[in-house]
């Protein structure tokens, strides 16, 4: 079977570890992929040292977008916002462990785009964040 659908992805899609919303939160951002309607919201809470103490995602979409969001949110726990801002496309691809063409890449990177727009405190998310 296609290694795109590695067990990890199907597993995280069906049984996400970090799905939910945090209210109140310190940072919350949401956006969608206009090409397919996938939607992701990410909420973060920070501790006194400014590190991510709690993180969650919510939304709907394909297995790749949802599993990426779950893995991404997990990876930011304990990080400072500056560290979060440094996350790149490669970090997401490493977590997923797969190769993606340009269209599916947008699915995988939606959560990163949302996370970084939140971490930078932007009004709008932009593709520049994940290039």
């Amino acid at each position: 079977m296609d290694d795109l659908y590695r067990e990890l992805i199907i597993d995280r899609y069906k049984n996400p570890h970090h799905r939910g919303v945090l209210e109140p939160n310190d940072i919350s951002f949401e956006d969608d992929n206009p090409l397919c309607g996938d939607h992701i919201r990410i909420d973060l809470r920070l501790d006194e040292a400014g590190r991510v103490s709690e993180a969650s995602f919510d939304g709907h979409g394909c297995a790749i977008s949802q599993a990426s969001a779950d893995l991404l949110v997990e990876s930011v726990l304990g990080k400072t916002l500056d560290e979060v801002r440094l996350l790149s496309k490669e970090d997401i691809l490493d977590m997923l462990g797969i190769e993606l063409g340009p269209v599916r890449l947008k699915c995988a990177l939606l959560s990163l785009k949302v996370l970084k727009a939140g971490a930078y405190g932007l009004g709008e998310a932009s593709d520049d964040l994940v290039e």
């Binding site: 079977m1 659908y5 397919c36 309607g37 979409g61 394909c62 297995a63 790749i64 699915c107």
Partner: protein, 415 residues
Amino acid sequence: MPMANNVNGFDVARIRADFPVLARQIRPGVPLVYLDSTATSQKPRAVIETMDEFYRKSNANIHRGIHTLAEEATAGYEGARRRVAQFINAPSARQVIFTRNTTESINLVAFTWGRANLNAGDIVILTEMEHHSNLVPWQMLAEERGLRLEFIPVREDGLLDMDAYRELLELEPCLVSFTHMSNVLGTINPAREMIALAHQAGALALVDGAQSVPHFPVDVQELDADFLAFSAHKMCGPSGIGVLYGRKELLEDMPPFLGGGDMIKRVYLRSFAPNEIPHKFEAGTPAIAEAVGLGAAIDYLESVGMQAIAQHEHEIVAYALERLEEIPGVRVFGPSAEHKGGVASFTLQGVHPHDISQILDSFGVAIRAGHHCAMPLHEKFGLPATARASFYLYNTREEIDRLVEAIYQVKEIFG
């Protein structure tokens, strides 16, 4: 045409041999099953080779050059225009304007005819099943001019609500602009009747023929359409070229669209006089090789026969609906086969359409997943996305079987 391999004499095997890409394997041992012709069609060898030959023998800029290559290129480009006119039975080739695609054709009408004729409070009627290409230009114009947009509702069964249409016509709209065939539901709308009703109500009618012209015979005079828009790339032709047909008096009265070379009669530093139709609407160097390629595509389609193509697709879609509806968890959208063209949009419970498409791809089956540029229609059905298999002259029943098998694999993986 004398043909074998099929009860109706439609020789799919022979047709498939005309399309080089259909011999492709997606992975070693996994042949391509191309079920995405609604997005864009594949190209027969005749079209590819005609363009290739144009570049190797006759390439030149058109209309203004006198040398042999320029005369040949001009004859090729203008010959393609006549070929298109014949194909849709336009009274004159001068009513055929070359654009980039259906989208530009509709924008051209909105921003020339529309800007010249529509004012605050004027009504344009669209439908809920329109492609974004037949929504956004009117939204832009509505915003600029204060127009009112009204929508013919789509019923649960995927057909337009014709009673509601009749009521909307009482508002005395200026224009009714609708798709001849939905690229999501496959619904073939009763264009002739809708245009007659529009005309009775004093409105003009624009037909989005992106999905009709490639798939069944379309005759602008029989339809009595005021405007018809379509794209070459969906009808075995190249990317980069589309068509706008318009009624002559309308085209002649419309102001120009873009400004530049070829669309002018005379230019001074501070003013210009526009050229005659169709040149008035074609600014700058057009898609020359692409026009020649479109001409070859029409030759190809007519050599097979538009009626035969429509019949073949009808059989394929009927078979596809039958097989898809057997699969537990699959829901197919749109009307029954008798009212529709070669499109089957569906969902599979618990699996996002993107994932369906991705896994199908690993079995060589190319379908499309998303909102298919029809977000409002998807919203109406409460879905962010659907999976869509679509068919053309080169598709076979065996390919439907491959699609169905692959969907069972998806169910297993996500099971």
